[in-house]
């Protein structure tokens, strides 16, 4: 166990040299640093996925275009979808889970810090593995939900699908490990007095998300394992000739797939639920209801998967059942929307960049949700499925929802994470250009879908009336690109000359703002005692019903700080992740490598487990 001195050493002396810094990041188990690692990697992959999108948009800018051929285009939309969902939005949310959950529940770290590092390194190795396929000219080309039996060896003999199938399994492992970690953290590490109902809503939505992750990913893992056995070991799961049914894949995938989309949106909803109260200077309207509807969404999320399969011919009964369950989900979501508006109502709203993005979220997500409800009616969906109307739907929820929400979080917590304020004017330019570009890009897609443009086509005939709006959409997508340049510029300018933030730049409400920015390694010198969801606000202003502000807690003594134990750094997570990658990639190269990698993994797991065999417990007794 590192004492105060030890990790002062860890963060000072070591990091003076360049390699010291590198090493300290490679071996860190600090949830804040891991959060930053997640965030930066995710943003880079967001740019990658975005550039893939821009190339697609260029190809679709005019009919019979020949910028890229069909093979390349199929790779582009497959990798774009996979990248954005698994390598951009999920890890970006994970960045906030990592950095914020412990701060918001008043903990010093997550439950299993080394496991947390392991999750990140596995994520990174999986992401790099997946993208390395570009180098071999074998980028996955089966679509982001890779429907069998197109993905079986007979129809996809090259390694393209192998990269996708193995990459997703690695990423799934990472997400699930992180999921367990945060579940335990939230259940077990809350500061004294923080009952579940006093938990900040962002933590609540993350909590639901973790349940969705650990319960949904097993389904896709199985689906992928079956595919893997079909491709490598000659099983017949997706083999029509042997009685196998390609629809099995679709069911298993969407049993995962629909919860997945809520995995993508709930964290953003949590962020919005933190930002609105802060900038309206009012508690979240009907917070318990917002929380319960979050739980509802998560629960119903497991009972609607076949709404992605209305056209496969499940029969009227199944169609009807899944249609109703799908529509039900609109209720809790709608409740959230109106409660957010209720939060603004009667507030005194300060229009700072984070708020703009949250408002953008409400405005745009509503749009996407409503088009979702149109899909929920099977007859209507028969016209819309696999058309650009669906593409419009899910970009309004994924970009208009998740991305706007996550950017809101970035602007909101940036000062806490870096200690410096992002420039607000640039932030607003970023927002407005992104909002305009976003609507220019995706609103026309509703229209294109309704006049019959199918998705996943690399080209189209000039006489179908699609040309005009496809061009506008392409222009819009580049405007989005420009908006992101504003953000990138803002980041670098802030690094050089950003206003210093201080503990509580937004006059906010929750615990993380009660500590310095950036927070010390141990987060809280003294674990706080919590009395309310907006505990910090009450400390400052009282309950607003005449209740006086609570007396400031006594200043922390040096002795207290010296007594804090923080976990040591560890390099086993990094090595373990590498060994795992060796094993998995072996499946495409040679069984020998698989065995070696496997044994290596086992051995490292042992070392990993034994590193802390009988930790502080021992010291105590």
């Amino acid at each position: 166990m590192a004492t105060q001195a030890a990790f002062m050493h860890g963060s000072k002396a070591e990091t003076e040299t360049f390699w010291g810094t590198v090493w300290s990041w490679l071996t860190t188990v600090d949830h804040k640093r891991i959060g930053i690692l997640y965030g930066t990697s995710a943003f880079i992959f967001f740019l990658v996925g975005g550039i893939e999108a821009l190339i697609m948009r260029l190809q679709l800018a005019r009919p019979d275009n020949t910028l890229v051929g069909p093979e390349r285009f199929n790779e582009l939309f497959t990798m774009h979808g996979t990248t954005m969902i698994f390598l951009a939005v999920m890890p970006l949310s994970a960045a906030f889970f990592n950095y914020m959950i412990p701060l918001m529940i008043g903990a010093r770290d997550v439950a299993f810090p080394r496991l947390n590092a392991l999750s990140y390194w596995i994520f990174l190795s999986g992401a790099l593995f997946l993208n390395s396929s570009w180098l071999f000219g074998m980028a996955p080309d089966g679509g982001w939900f890779g429907y069998a039996n197109l993905t079986t060896t007979q129809f996809s003999p090259r390694h393209t699908i192998d990269f996708w199938m193995l990459g997703l399994q690695i990423l799934g492992l990472s997400s699930m490990l992180a999921g367990f970690n945060f579940l335990v953290t939230i259940i077990n590490m809350r500061a004294p007095g923080m009952t579940l109902m006093r938990m900040p809503v962002f933590v609540w939505m993350s909590f639901v998300t973790q349940f969705l992750i650990v319960l949904a990913f097993p389904a896709i893992t199985v689906a992928l394992i079956l595919l893997m056995f079909d491709r490598f070991f000659g099983t017949l799961f997706y083999e029509p000739a042997a009685g196998g049914d390609p629809l099995l894949w679709q069911h298993l995938f969407w049993i995962f797939g629909h919860p997945e989309v809520y995995i993508l949106i709930l964290p953003a909803m949590g962020i919005v639920s933190e930002v609105l109260p802060t900038f309206a200077r009012k508690p979240l309207f009907g917070a318990p209801v917002v929380i319960y509807s979050g739980i509802m969404i998560g629960f119903f999320g497991f009972g609607v998967w076949s709404h992605h399969m209305f056209s496969v011919g499940m029969g009227p009964v199944a169609d009807a059942a899944f249609s109703i369950s799908t529509m039900l989900i609109a209720v809790p979501t709608g409740v959230k929307i109106l409660n957010w508006i209720g939060t603004l109502w009667g507030g005194s709203i300060r229009f700072k960049a984070p708020l703009y993005f949250s408002l953008g979220f409400i405005a745009m997500f509503t749009m996407g949700g409503l088009s979702g409800v149109m899909h929920a009616s099977p007859p209507v969906d028969l016209q819309q499925t696999d058309s650009y109307f669906v593409v419009a739907h899910f970009h309004y929820v994924l970009f208009g929802g998740s991305i706007f929400g996550l950017f809101s979080g970035i602007y909101y917590w940036w000062p806490k994470i870096t200690g410096k304020m992002l420039d607000d004017t640039l932030g607003r330019w970023h927002f407005w250009t992104m909002l305009i570009g976003f609507n220019m890009t995706f609103f026309p897609m509703h229209y294109l879908g309704l006049i019959g443009m199918p998705r996943r086509i690399y080209t189209y005939a000039p006489d179908l009336g699609w040309n005009h709006w496809n061009l506008i959409s392409t222009i819009g997508s580049f405007l989005i690109g420009v908006s992101l340049l504003f953000f990138i510029v803002n980041v670098f300018r802030t690094r050089r000359s950003g206003a210093v933030a201080g503990n509580d730049p937004w006059d906010a409400r929750t615990l993380e703002w009660s500590i310095p920015s950036p927070p010390p390694v141990y987060n809280f010198a003294r674990i706080p005692q919590v009395h309310d969801r907006d505990d910090f606000w009450l400390q400052k202003y009282g309950d607003g019903h005449g209740g006086a502000p609570r007396p400031k807690p006594a200043p922390v003594t040096a002795a207290e700080i010296a007594a804090i134990h923080m976990p040591d750094t560890s390099f086993w997570p990094l090595l373990l992740a590498l060994a795992l990658a060796v094993m998995v990639s072996g499946l495409m190269i040679s069984m020998v490598q698989v065995v070696i990698g496997g044994l290596l993994t086992l051995w490292l797991m042992y070392k990993f487990a034994m590193e802390l065999h009988r930790p502080a417990a021992g010291h105590g007794h």
Partner: protein, 114 residues
């Protein structure tokens, strides 16, 4: 989910105190008997298949919950643990049933002809 902050009895959270070796032995015996009965029913001729299936399911369910309840202490353990396990279990079973329904609805997959 309700809120639980009871400080666990055993310092290391191992709420094992309640079940004694006696109980374990009894449970084991019960499990052995049920398994025997299960297998036996197979060899009894002329049980209508629905009865057979239902009784088999019932028996295995009992075994399942005996192990979970006593050997895994869930009967005595903190409600959080129960929620963490039983919740997913229910979802899993529901999904299995739904998938079965969806698949037996497939009229066109040929039945075995041998």
């Amino acid at each position: 989910m309700a809120d639980h902050h009871a400080v666990a009895s055993a310092p290391h959270g191992g709420g094992g105190g309640h079940a004694t070796v006696r109980t374990y032995i009894n449970v084991a015996i019960a499990l052995a008997i049920i398994t025997a009965v299960e297998v036996a029913t197979l060899y009894i001729p002329g049980i209508p298949s629905t009865v057979l299936v239902l009784s088999l399911l019932a028996m295995s369910a009992i075994k399942f919950f005996l192990v979970v309840g006593f050997f895994m202490h869930l009967k005595y353990d903190h409600p959080v643990m129960r929620a963490l396990f039983v919740g997913p279990l229910i979802i899993a079973i529901a999904i299995i049933l739904a998938v079965m329904a969806l698949f037996s609805a497939f009229v066109l997959l040929p039945r075995v002809v041998l």
